[in-house]
């Protein structure tokens, strides 16, 4: 047994899978539909959703997976490749077929046919990374362009359930330990890519199966980037956007630290962003729009004279969810999302400040009636190394 599951976690996961499929079944009944096909590509980017991952609570290694959830009857997972079957078998919550990638579409078609669903009564949630060849196969396979179940999956997954929160909290703990390890092991003379490699392997060592990581080390950072040859020097401000994944659930912390002692100016500007973050967290109550939260976060930063730096290219967004279930909410102008209880996302007034360079200050939060509550054991401070 090698799955990333303890004995205590197995029933939690099973309950959540059952709940998720129950939501789908209720939606099918309400819409007089026979089944949903939830597809997932193997491109596990958190800029894209994977409906099959959400309904199976399983991150496939192959390029294709699909979960068929009928209104009545048992669900079925069809996954690729065939040789990955043992990994699902040890955590299976439904019947499954593991097939070669070339056999995927034919297998889905055969299983749908075998169930004799009514014409036009099978909905599809393909996710936004669905390849063209798959997207174009559904109408032929189902007899007509299928109804979309995309919004159903997004709306369901953005409100975190027991299993999602379990994985998320494990991810948060890994991220915090990873950052602690960075503080302990980073020294002048290291190169950026060595720092990144240390962080990467330390995250894996602690249980992350993946990690979205942006970092930078400079006397004056422009933004986070991918690691380079640059040699770390005393006085460098190190930026770390650390985003481990546990069972496909990504969660992010954003941290800044100085190789040496931060200057009073660095403390002052970091405190400005931290204050903006805390104001945003207080404002982020159920029903509040993301536009309102953006305004609350930008308020103190603009008041300090940095209004022009509260937009691209000096920053990107004030926060965001991380797929693979839902990309909502995005805490940025132009989005119409509203806060809902038990949404989880990273809130981060990360941005460029002309006196200090780019600073990162961000927390994973959960929305409660009292506002956004950090999932971390302690909120980020401007760190000092050595």
């Amino acid at each position: 047994m090698t799955a990333n599951l303890s004995a205590a976690e197995i029933p939690i996961r099973a309950r959540s899978v059952e709940r998720r499929q129950g939501v789908v079944r209720a939606w099918l009944a309400a819409n007089d539909l026979d089944a949903v096909v939830a597809y997932g590509s193997g491109l596990h980017a958190f800029t894209g959703t994977n409906p099959a991952w959400y309904l199976a609570a399983f991150k496939q290694i192959g390029p294709h997976a699909a979960v068929i959830v009928p209104q009545r009857g048992e669900p079925l997972l069809i996954m690729t490749p065939a040789w990955d079957a043992p990994r699902y078998r040890e955590r299976a919550t439904m019947e499954f077929l593991a097939v070669a990638s070339e056999e995927f579409l034919a297998t889905v078609a055969a299983e749908l046919k075998r169930r004799s669903f009514r014409g036009g009564k099978v909905a599809v949630a393909g996710g936004n990374l669905q390849p063209r060849a798959i997207a174009e196969a559904w109408p032929g396979m189902l007899g007509s362009t299928p109804p979309s179940a995309e919004k159903l999956i997004v709306d369901t997954s953005k409100i975190r359930d027991e299993w999602s929160l379990n994985c998320t909290r494990r991810g948060v703990a890994i991220a915090e330990r990873g950052y602690d390890n960075l503080l302990k092991t980073t020294t002048p003379g290291m190169r950026e890519y060595e720092l990144a490699a240390n962080l990467e392997t330390s995250m894996r060592e602690q249980g992350a199966e993946d990690n979205f990581q942006l970092m930078s080390a400079s006397q004056h950072n422009q933004a986070g980037h991918f690691p380079t040859d640059r040699v770390l020097e005393r006085g460098d401000l190190i930026l770390a956007e650390i985003t481990p994944a546990v069972e496909g659930e990504f969660i992010q912390i954003c941290r800044s630290c100085v190789l040496g002692t931060p200057t009073p100016l660095q403390y002052e500007k970091f405190a400005l962003l931290r204050g903006a973050l805390e104001a945003g967290m207080r404002a982020a109550k159920p029903g509040v729009s993301v536009t309102e939260i953006v305004n609350v976060i930008n308020g103190p930063i603009a008041a300090a004279g940095y209004e022009r730096y509260c937009k691209p290219p000096f920053m990107r967004t004030r926060g965001h969810s991380m797929g693979l279930g839902s990309m909502e909410p995005e805490i940025a102008p132009g989005y119409e999302h509203h806060m809902q209880e038990n949404m989880v996302f990273v809130m981060h007034p990360n941005q460029y400040i002309p006196e200090t360079g780019y600073l990162m200050c961000g927390e994973p939060v959960i929305i409660t009636p009292a506002g956004a509550v950090p999932l971390t054991s302690r909120m980020g401070e401007l760190g000092a190394i050595g």
Binding site: M1, T2, A3, L5, S6, G42, L43, H44, A45, G48, K59, I61, P63, T80, P81, A82, W83, D84, A85, P86, R87, A100, S101, L129, P131, R132, A133, E136, Y193, E194, A196, A197, E200, T201, R204, E205, G207, A208, E209, D210, N211, F212, Q213, L214, Q222, A223, H225, F226, P227, T228, D229, A245, V246, F250, P312, P313, F314, R316, Y352, Y358
Partner: protein
């Protein structure tokens, strides 16, 4: 070999100008222009929109720009090529350090900028080649066709891939560096296991070694007690011999892979099949013939397992560049291309994993070789 796709390729990302200097890319552009003239095309537009542009299927783009990013690349017959980025923000300064090309900030309108950028290079209409469009979502294709309505779009994917298939000397050097990385990674993993570590330790040490040697993307699979290979999952447990360990990595966009079995079984079925396939490799041979050579020496009980994992294929700027070594394939290997050959047998008593990479020559295969970067 199928492996778990990471969310972000987040290892060493500097541009190694010693291995791939500006003039290397300029020579590649010359080759493309020659092919464009032969096809009577006035320019080439390469689009990388896969996975919203985050570094999957980057081969065509990287071949001409060095970038593994989403965007659109313009190569006119005359004048300066350019890269039009999808974004326009904070990442641009870093991207500019990774390419020899000027970057036009697309700021969400990369496709819409294409006509004016082509016109600025003397191409206001007529036939142009396009690469990277055929697999895109219909809405994206429609957007590109709308914005380039004044042009006749001619698919050029096969022509560009034919150019890419034959490795240039500096490409071989980049691949030898990557081979050095994966060889060292496998050796580190095997050493950890041989020293008493478990399979998890072997995977971790392999990844650590690859990243320390400047791999940008690292994929590790290992046996964990069953017949199958597994990706890293966080809580992998226990020591299970023999260890079968596979590592793939890319450096400067170029892929290589290596594998080992520890301890090596007395009957190394995988190694024997890899050697047989290697002996069959030469320019003009079909991939099916190469596969048949390997299958012929495998125990019959091991064939299905080996075929399900794949026997390898051409490799370069993509881990799978187009020709897969599969039974009955009629695709022919081209001189100058690189082939990674691999056999995995999961079931005892033949459980074993082996690989080798070779350069295809007219008379046979030559080892790709491996080199280490100077510190």
């Amino acid at each position: 070999m199928i492996s778990m796709e990471p969310v972000l390729k987040r290892g060493y990302s500097s541009w190694d100008r010693a291995v791939l200097p500006d003039d290397e890319f300029a020579l590649r552009v010359d080759g493309v222009r020659h092919a464009l003239r032969e096809a009577r095309l006035r320019a080439l537009v390469v689009v990388n929109y896969s996975l919203l542009g985050v570094m999957v299927d980057y081969a065509d783009m990287a071949y001409l720009s060095g970038l593994q990013s989403g965007g659109a690349l313009l190569v006119p017959l005359e004048g300066e090529p350019a890269f039009v980025s999808f974004g326009g923000g904070r990442e641009l300064a870093f991207m500019r350090a990774l390419t020899w090309l000027p970057i036009v900030p697309g700021a969400g309108k990369a496709f819409e900028l294409l006509p004016s950028e082509l016109k600025a290079r003397g191409v206001a209409g007529g036939r142009i080649g396009v690469v990277g469009i055929s697999g895109l979502a219909p809405t994206v294709v429609a957007r590109i066709r709308d914005t380039l309505a004044g042009f006749e779009l001619v698919p050029f994917d096969a022509e560009l891939r034919a150019l890419r298939a034959v490795k240039r000397p500096r490409e071989l050097l980049a691949m030898q560096i990557t081979q050095g990385i994966v060889d060292a990674a496998v050796a580190a993993g095997v050493a950890a296991f041989a020293a008493g570590g478990d399979n998890r330790a072997a995977m971790l040490e392999a990844e650590r070694a690859a990243r320390a040697l400047k791999a940008r993307d690292v994929r590790v699979l290992a046996s964990m007690g069953g017949p199958e290979l597994r990706p890293w999952e966080g809580r992998l447990d226990g020591r299970h011999a023999p260890l079968r360990l596979w590592v793939a990595a890319q450096y400067q966009g170029y892929w290589a892979e290596a594998a080992a079995t520890e301890p090596l079984p007395r009957e190394n079925a995988a190694g024997k099949a890899v050697r047989a396939m290697r002996a069959a490799v030469r320019a003009g041979v079909t991939a099916g013939e190469v596969a048949a050579a390997g299958v012929a020496v495998l125990p019959s009980s091991a064939v299905d397992s080996a075929l399900s994992y794949g026997l390898g294929g051409t490799i370069g700027l993509a881990h799978a560049e187009g020709i897969a070594i599969v039974p009955r394939s009629t695709q022919r290997l081209v001189a100058g291309s690189v082939v990674a050959l691999r056999v995995h047998v999961g079931e005892a008593p033949h459980a074993s994993l082996a690989s080798t990479s070779v350069v295809v020559g007219p008379e046979g295969a030559a080892p790709l070789g491996a080199t280490r970067l100077a510190d």
